[in-house]
């Protein structure tokens, strides 16, 4: 029962009329079908890349927060994102530790600095200072060196993606950050920054020196809750003890950071607009080619109608043409998007394609083709079956 011949026989017997007509209409207008598919592929790639960039940018923008594993972030009042912030008295870490429900509190520094490449030339970087005694929010995806190596005088860890940008090749190379000597002790892989100023991981107290922050200050206190502690109660208790701070949950601060960067840079709007453009282009192309094919076949639709086909039968033929186009166009478009995603892995800008985004893309493709079918459906809705007697 599984020979090609028997499958062919089965198909001949089982394919209902609307599917047969839909498929034959497409197959007989081959040039038009190809244009439709190219249009859908173009649209899927455009939407996929733009939305993938948006998701990638969003994930990149808040990666420090999402990876730190803290429950609460204490920041200076008025802070809107993780990369640009004021400072706090470092003793608040101890105050935080004294609040019931707090399991641990950690210093965390994030500050811009200027990096002087070994061969001259400057780049801006973001120094990320972690408490080596009790590290949290440290470098992840380490491929060379270890966090403990940061204890070396002037030791820094950075990401391989930025080797060229920062002009370093290997562990042991030295350079200057804000005129202080630093030495590369490790590399991570895949820690991007939204700002394109690379994160440079360093011991917390060293970070202070590199960035001219006073000895008794830091930028964040990260809090881990004791098991069973009520997050909101701890948050309120922390806020009550410390003036001029804001206490965020990880989710809140992460979201605020993503929104800040995507909105202030216009990246969010630009990418969304480009994705919408892809959708519109897709609707127009599908609508246009499907409509042209429907107009060519009006006499056939009129014949069906005269034979007593309900309107739904005609709509089914058109919608199935749209659906076949959608499935094939999406498959090809998604494969092409996958290539773009794979290429982006090796670069500074990530295109993310989580499963949910693939589902969204598939739904948008379906929506696009259904919307394209509307023009044709509106035309056959008005068809006059007496026209077949002319």
């Amino acid at each position: 029962m599984s020979t090609p011949a028997s499958i062919g026989r089965l198909a001949r017997h089982r394919v209902p009329g609307t599917s047969l007509l839909a498929w034959r209409n497409l197959a007989h207008d081959r040039a038009r079908f190809v244009i439709t598919l190219v249009g859908i592929v173009f649209s899927v790639v455009l939407m996929g890349v733009q939305m993938g960039l948006l998701v990638g940018f969003a994930r990149t923008a808040s990666s420090l927060i999402d990876r730190a594993g803290a429950d609460l972030w204490i920041t200076a009042a008025g802070t809107s994102n993780v990369d640009i912030t004021g400072t706090l008295p470092q003793r608040w870490r101890y105050q935080a530790q004294a609040v019931p429900g707090v399991a641990s509190a950690h210093d965390y520094m994030v500050q811009f600095a200027f990096w002087k490449k070994p061969d001259g030339g400057n780049e801006s970087v973001i120094m990320v200072g972690i408490d080596l005694a009790d590290p949290i929010g440290g470098p992840w995806n380490l491929v060379e060196g270890s966090v403990a190596d940061l204890a070396v005088d002037g030791g820094i860890i950075l990401d391989r993606l930025y080797m060229d940008k920062l002009g370093v090749r290997a562990i042991g190379e030295t350079l200057e950050i804000n005129n202080r000597r630093a030495r590369v002790v490790g590399f991570t892989d895949g820690i991007r920054t939204f700002t394109q100023s690379p994160y440079v991981f360093v011991a917390h107290d060293e970070a202070r020196h590199y960035t001219f922050v006073d000895d008794d200050r830091t930028t964040y206190v990260l809090v881990k809750l004791a098991p069973g502690a009520d997050r909101e109660m701890v948050r309120a208790a922390l806020a009550a003890r410390m003036p001029d701070v804001r206490v965020w949950t990880t989710d809140e601060f992460s979201r605020a950071t993503r929104v800040y960067w995507l909105v202030t840079t216009g990246a969010g709007a630009a990418l969304t607009l480009a994705a919408l453009l892809g959708l519109v282009v897709g609707i127009v192309i599908v609508g246009q080619t499907l409509y042209a094919s429907t107009i060519d076949r009006l006499p056939e639709y009129a014949t069906l109608r005269a034979m007593g086909a309900p309107n739904a039968y005609l709509y089914a033929v058109i919608l199935k043409q749209a659906a076949i186009s959608a499935v094939l166009g999406f498959a090809a478009g998604f494969a092409a998007t996958g290539v773009a995603v794979a290429i982006s892995r090796t670069g500074n800008i990530a295109i993310d394609m989580p499963a949910w985004l693939a589902v969204v893309l598939a739904l948008l493709t379906g929506l696009m083709c259904a919307a394209g079918a509307v023009f044709s459906i509106r035309r056959v809705m008005r068809i006059d079956p007496t026209s077949v007697f002319a």
């Binding site: 001949r12 017997h13 089982r14 394919v15 209902p16 009329g17 047969l20 007509l21 034959r24 209409n25 197959a27 007989h28 006499p299 056939e300 014949t303 069906l304 109608r305 005269a306 034979m307 007593g308 086909a309 309900p310 309107n311 039968y313 079956p385 007496t386 077949v388 007697f389």
Partner: protein, 234 residues
């Protein structure tokens, strides 16, 4: 005499409204019975096609009454009329109106599919019907590969598929040469009548006369003559 399948009583049909209104049918009273082959003659513009469309639930009468199986069609909406067409009528057109992207058997299968014949039976039934029309060796041909007479035979198979009670044919032989036309007329009569269909054929073609039980002549939208045909005389 059996009850008429279709009964028209004082039917008028007016196209358009107001100053441009044109009355194409006036006072048509007519019964169409099962197993009867009716030929509609008349000059061009006399209203033959209009009458066929009124009988076939494609147009609504402007006045008078049309009854199908003794049920009035008055007040039925477009979808209800469409459902009547599907259930009770088969149409044959002058220009065949086959689906060019479907093979011969698929053209017939579409009519069966519309009438909800199970998908597994479509090909068998379609081939059977085409065989009755002498097209056993043409079932997998595309319409473009068929002669005019063969196309019209496929169209007849499509019209009788699903066993409708009424076959309406508008000038089915007009595009065919004489010999072919006669063959098509004979096939139409034989197949339709053996199934107990009522057949109404519009034609200018005098060669159709021998196949008719009854011949109606239409002039200016009115029936001016109603007599037995060649077949009816036997």
């Amino acid at each position: 005499m059996s009850a008429p399948v279709l009964a028209l009583r004082g039917v008028d049909l007016t196209y358009g409204e107001g100053a441009t209104a044109f009355t194409a049918l006036r006072g048509i009273t007519l019964d169409v019975r099962a197993g009867e082959f009716t030929l509609l003659l008349g000059p061009s513009g006399s209203g033959k096609t209009s009458l066929l469309q009124v009988m076939g639930c494609l147009l609504r009468a402007s006045a008078g009454e049309v009854r199908l199986f003794d049920q009035s069609l008055a007040g039925l909406d477009a979808e209800a009329l469409t459902a009547r067409r599907l259930r009770h009528f088969g149409f044959v057109f002058q220009h065949y109106n086959l689906f060019p992207t479907l093979r011969a058997w698929e053209n017939v299968a579409i009519a069966l599919d519309l009438k909800r014949v199970p998908a597994a039976d479509l090909r068998g039934q379609a081939i059977d019907l085409l065989g009755r029309l002498g097209l056993s060796d043409r079932v997998d041909h595309w319409p473009a590969q068929l002669s005019g007479g063969q196309k019209q035979r496929v169209a007849i198979a499509r019209a009788i598929a699903g066993a409708p009670e009424v076959i309406l044919a508008d000038e089915p032989t007009a595009a065919l040469d004489g010999r072919t036309g006669i063959g098509v007329a004979a096939a139409l009569r034989e197949l339709a009548l053996e199934r107990g269909c009522a057949v109404v054929v519009v034609s200018h073609d005098p060669r159709m006369l021998p196949y008719a039980d009854r011949v109606l002549t239409l002039e200016d939208g009115a029936i001016t003559d109603d007599r037995p045909g060649g077949a009816g005389a036997n």
